[in-house]
Subunit: 417 residues, 2 copies
């Protein structure tokens, strides 16, 4: 894409009311727009990052047998009264609204109830199990404070997967499969080395649930990390009893701030009991379905990548989530040969299927490089009189600044490596 037609512009200053680093940088780079505290819009480059993250998650969920759906946001009271989660006393994040005829509605903040009820229409025998169903769906949560940029918002897309199993044993097997898929996701989006599986409270149906926590000063959570074992314990269950249970010693643990980037949770038969989701086993006996839930917010993941990987010049995107893998920058000073050479390079990459953002704007080098730094595209190709006189293109990496001169004839092979 030619930057001269991209409608967003970078800006020097972040909005004054924005305190979170992730939002400050993403707004300055023109990736997002703040609609109000806790509600952001995604602009072209930001939406590309967001979609790339979704695609990584989707691939990993499909690989473990996930089937994608999309449930409605509008929710009537009926199912939620059955599970005891309709009252604002029980759940304090509901946004409620009303139909023209006065009927009360809520905006879905999670989807156990509607999906469990839906599954009763498609599930009756042991032959119909197991099933794994997920969606990328917009959740609404009436958060009292929303000051963390896109890490905690009042509306956000959540990938929520729900597992439906015949037995606790079958459920546990999938639970571990999904935990492994989550680790692959964090690895692929560039957070692998900063992210740890973390024991957290299991609620009424299990001893523990598992969170995935990324170390960051911006995190709302405190965890106790065992680096050697690569696991952590959330402060909420950091007791002598739990440590003994997990075989961890206090003196081996580091206290760290972290962002919860994923959560997997045994639900037992809490919702299948409430909403009557049963199956008939091989012997003809009716049994409740065993459930689990598995969440990742692609927006929160995007914000976390910015918090953890950005440097003092701007954002640094890992390759798999970057809006474009390559940023072509022409430094022409009006020289028609340089412009022609940069155009040729852009066309060459397009033909070979390498997507590039092409800074073809009539601006000074300093401005272009400052923009490129804040945009954070991983690989930069500079075309200038100097690189042309040296017979090539300067390839540099945003992450570490290393630069190499590559002849144009070798550029495609170089980028594909």
């Amino acid at each position: 894409m030619r930057q001269s037609v991209l409608f967003t512009k970078t800006r020097r200053e972040a909005p004054k009311d924005e305190v979170a680093k992730n939002a400050q940088l993403l707004i300055r780079a023109g990736y997002i727009h703040k609609e109000m505290a806790g509600a952001y819009s995604y602009l072209p480059l930001g939406l590309r990052v967001f979609k790339n993250i979704k695609n990584v998650i989707r691939e990993e969920m499909n690989a473990i047998g996930g089937q994608e759906v999309e449930l409605s946001s509008l929710q009537g009271p009926r199912l939620w009264k059955k599970s005891g989660r309709w009252d604002d006393e029980a759940v304090d994040v509901w946004f409620k609204t009303r139909l023209k005829d006065g009927g009360e509605l809520g905006l879905g903040w999670t989807h156990e109830e509607p999906l469990t009820a839906l599954m009763t229409e498609h599930m009756s025998s042991y032959k119909d199990l197991p099933r794994y169903v997920y969606q990328f769906q917009k959740k609404f949560r009436n958060e009292p404070r929303a000051k963390s940029g896109i890490l905690r918002t009042r509306e956000f897309v959540m990938k929520d997967l729900y597992s439906f199993n015949k037995s606790e044993k079958e459920f546990r097997q999938f639970y571990e499969q999904c935990a492994a898929a989550y680790l692959r996701i964090f690895e692929r989006v560039g957070l692998g080395e900063h992210t740890f599986r973390t024991f957290a409270s299991g609620g009424s149906f299990a001893k523990y649930s598992d969170e995935f926590q990324t170390l960051s000063a911006a995190g709302e959570d405190t965890i106790y990390l065992h680096r050697g074992k690569g696991i952590a314990v959330n402060k909420e269950v950091y007791t002598d009893e739990v440590l003994a249970d997990l075989g961890l010693k206090k003196e081996e643990l580091e206290e760290k701030k972290a962002i919860e980037v994923g959560n997997i949770f045994p639900l037992g038969t809490r919702f299948s009991d409430a909403l009557d989701l049963t199956y008939t086993d091989e012997k003809g006996k009716k049994k409740p379905v065993v459930m689990g839930s598995y969440g990742i917010g692609p927006g929160r993941l995007m914000g976390t990548i910015v918090e953890v990987l950005a440097d003092d010049k701007g954002i640094v995107w890992p390759k798999e989530v970057a809006p474009f893998p390559v940023h072509i920058i022409s430094i022409s000073g009006g020289n028609a040969d340089v412009i022609a050479e940069a155009n040729r390079l852009y066309d060459l990459l397009k033909e070979t299927g390498i997507e590039a953002l092409y800074d073809d704007r009539d601006l000074r080098a300093g401005e272009k490089f400052a923009d490129a730094d804040i945009l954070g595209i991983p690989t930069r190709l500079v075309v200038s009189e100097k690189t042309m006189s040296e017979g090539g293109v300067e390839v540099s990496l945003r992450a570490n600044g290393s630069a190499t001169l590559v002849p144009e004839s070798g550029i495609v092979d170089y980028l594909r490596k």
Copy 2:
């Protein structure tokens, strides 16, 4: 995908409270689930159709220079008060809700206001124009009645594009480009011959707006169609004066029911004036930006395809929107050779990149064919003892039932034709 693991099932009866043909068929086929009147969830096969339709629209919007964004659903009153569209008196489809601290919010039912305000941050000079920005965004509309299945719902994804131009002339040029793109979209999703550009009321900024109306008894609109010219007039502007203006004669027009599948609308400077979206022209003069809006609902399009193309056996999907292009059906009666042959065929197509739904279930032929009929996948491949003894695979088309025996060695080429 193997049908034996697909979680949805077909059913003989539609829900009793569902009167619309599109929803009856889509629910019976397991494509959608009714959450409440006017709110539907998309199940795996339905979501695949929905995404295919979105992709067709996205390709055509990108081809005319559209840049994709996604704005927030939550909307504060500020911008909408400026345009005079916050009050429930002025706009009767708002869903309103409240923040914890009591502040009133609305759920976006369209997005002129937030996008126009956003553009003021990225647009100041004639060099920043023209720009074309679109999204696939969930709209909420508090419809008093919602009985048309997925044709008119209380929450739905809308592709809404907004154009930002320097002048009326530049705007008109794009407007016609977009009208042409819309016709390509309706052609590609299989509604081309049933869909007509229709003159409708232009509001305060133009003589006319343009609707795209698909002939269907399920339509809410009445249009007067000139088949020869391929254009129509909406009943709301069907006056002697308008007919004279358009050079149409009453006696040449047919009165028809139709579904509005798209709408393009000149906005003039209504929103740029209200929200102060201006640019400085070549002579340094400040001018308001000229705007237009362009909507298509992919869900409504999906419902319309069902209404118009379904037959008495079920849904008939055009190739470009079908959940899968190919439906493999094994009729084995337990014969291991037939099962092995069908498996081989499924693997072969997968290797060559042809996606298939594979009915590998242990059911009788009659049930499988009835399911295939209601699911409506365009091309069916049947593997049975009979087809094997004849040395091939039976290929039939859902649309007209025509069947041919194709040798397995030639099947990939046959499907690629």
